[in-house]
Symmetry: none
Subunit: 215 residues, 4 copies
Amino acid sequence: MSVPDLRPKQKRSQETHDKFLESLQNALQVKYFEHISIKELAEGAGVSVGTFYRRFENKEALLPLLYDAFGKELGEWIEEMEALECSSLEEQVTILCESTHMFLDARKSVFRTIHLNARLHSDTIFANPTLDRNEAYSRLSNLLLKFTHKSSQKSDSMKQHAADMVIYMMINGLLDKILYPNLTPAIACSMSQASFVEQLPKMLVNYLKPCFSEL
Amino acid sequence: MSVPDLRPKQKRSQETHDKFLESLQNALQVKYFEHISIKELAEGAGVSVGTFYRRFENKEALLPLLYDAFGKELGEWIEEMEALECSSLEEQVTILCESTHMFLDARKSVFRTIHLNARLHSDTIFANPTLDRNEAYSRLSNLLLKFTHKSSQKSDSMKQHAADMVIYMMINGLLDKILYPNLTPAIACSMSQASFVEQLPKMLVNYLKPCFSEL
Amino acid sequence: MSVPDLRPKQKRSQETHDKFLESLQNALQVKYFEHISIKELAEGAGVSVGTFYRRFENKEALLPLLYDAFGKELGEWIEEMEALECSSLEEQVTILCESTHMFLDARKSVFRTIHLNARLHSDTIFANPTLDRNEAYSRLSNLLLKFTHKSSQKSDSMKQHAADMVIYMMINGLLDKILYPNLTPAIACSMSQASFVEQLPKMLVNYLKPCFSEL
Amino acid sequence: MSVPDLRPKQKRSQETHDKFLESLQNALQVKYFEHISIKELAEGAGVSVGTFYRRFENKEALLPLLYDAFGKELGEWIEEMEALECSSLEEQVTILCESTHMFLDARKSVFRTIHLNARLHSDTIFANPTLDRNEAYSRLSNLLLKFTHKSSQKSDSMKQHAADMVIYMMINGLLDKILYPNLTPAIACSMSQASFVEQLPKMLVNYLKPCFSEL
DNA sequence: CATGAATGAGGATTCATTCAT
DNA sequence: AATGAATGAATCCTCATTCAT
């Protein structure tokens, strides 16, 4: 269940690692990953280029760190979600949409980097297979599956698929609205972000209800 | 209503433009936009680098051409969609999902470039404001709005928003499933692409029906 | 028979080529090949680093030029040798030793580079198989073989081997004496260079005579 | 007359020295001296880079150790040569050629390093002047001088020179044949190594005989 | 106009050497 | 004394852009 710790055991090394991660996160506030040079990162970390190369093969090797750090926060956020008591599927989905929206909105810059670079360097960022997000997404699905009716005649696997699809559509829908609101395809959607976040749960619950219901 | 013609009026210039667009499209089959050099493009176009610079400011200036060419195909595809007679909203949405899936799947490599670079260079790709996709997306929305009940008490603007949202969720949902099926957030969704294309219309119609109905 | 021309056909290119070769030859007067940087070479040639890389893969790619240029001079020198009329084997060998000594002595710095680097980068320097030295050495051997007695009972192949060996021992002996007179193994030889050049033919003729003689 | 001991007196230091020498010798089996880094050597020696710098000024400072170790073996081998009883000059020269060939062939990789680097770093490798090879070569010359006729009218110095020259030509001739058989100038010599080793003594004896003889 | 040689800033990378622990 | 993390100068190499022909 725990997110594995990529960080080196030695204290000095650990600090250097963290400094580079922090330096990268700072730089990402201002520019895209591709446009950040190693010299820049080293300066931001207050160390020399050589030190960078002692730790990392190349710039891409920082991506897993970013991904991992994000994963930690994701895990914590999911725990919070799991701790909340919801009395209905509607409430659960609504809260999930709102909370996901806030969570992603607050982490835009890092998420944009992960999102884009996972697409450009998926080999690298996922080199460590324990980092994948399957588990995190399952936990979100499970939040929904709590509201299924035991007596429902639908198969468990169908319900599982439906819940997974809802999670995917929710995250994917929110993501493009947040990261690239003025681009294809988000531009297709004429609503404001606020309205979108309000409408989204309706679509999702409407889909999920019949799947979970008794009949 | 027609997509504007970016191409220069002179015949010779026109040919050069086309050659570079073609060269770029070929190169994209093999590698990412970022890794294609201008020398490479010029060689592919059978002209010199100098000639490239006579026509274009820089490499990014090719993106609108790509975007434009894609827009043309999009327009033609939408016309086909408009020509189809559907007897129900269900049918319309189902056909739209299937057809969109096929359309996007066939243009993966170009679309990936547009999709990523619109995010990296949105300033450039949209320099020409007439190129935006608003109109295309409205036409798709309108396909759905044909099935609204006149007597419905819901406002037209509400219906419009709902249709827009459905189009957005459809395209966005399909896109990530097609372009990056193994990455966040598409991995959240455990279904195969085929099942997803089958389920998607159900979610969308379920949402749309109540908005369009008489009550 | 002719030394092939590695140089590009275009005039501008040709000039650049020559400038780099000249720049390298100048630099070699002062330091070893390994310690010459590309920036240095470019400055010496009066052009930019980029221009270097337009022409050459890397620094080692200059070695064949050096080798080739030396080969040209070698060819010319051999022609001179061939033009001389000698009345006896003694005279021929003596003249050859003296002349080889002068020839190598005048080209010390370039030859040292070729000599060392042929050993460090033999793959590169001999990439062009037409550049090899076999032919040059055969021509020198042939100068000696002119003095063989037709009636000799020794086989032609034996004579050939003997002549080849003499050429090898001559060049190899002179080379180390010239290039590294104070190092192992040249230090073993207590004579001055002048005396050595005087003694060398004696050793070689003594060896060759019996092989070539009638008996 | 003994080879001086460069090694530090402290036991711990001594071990470190030996470990580095061994590490270097191992590395030389695989790559050239120039391409071996200090980190690599330190790892091979099982100590840290810092420890290297406590002992040695830089990488070149290891060369004398290599040279020294080789010198030891050379000394031992010469002793063996001196212990052999030969009944004639021919026998002595023949045995010397064969034995030298075997000795050098077995030590190719180390000798190549010494041979090349003595040329690139003669300042360093000979920093310790007691390491030079004069004495070793004289002892080899003396092996030949044993066969001179006392009554010979040639001066002792002339004989000495002749013997020295023979030693030089022998070692130098064998060396290039062994180390770089396919390069200039060894390719000049068409014979196999075995034939060469057979022919070489003939050349040398032919030269030496008249110098040493009575007349 | 087209060409492609030349430019040179910019970034990646290495590794000998130092020095705090 | 030993360690190995940190340093940063030095070098390699690329490629967008310019400009003489």
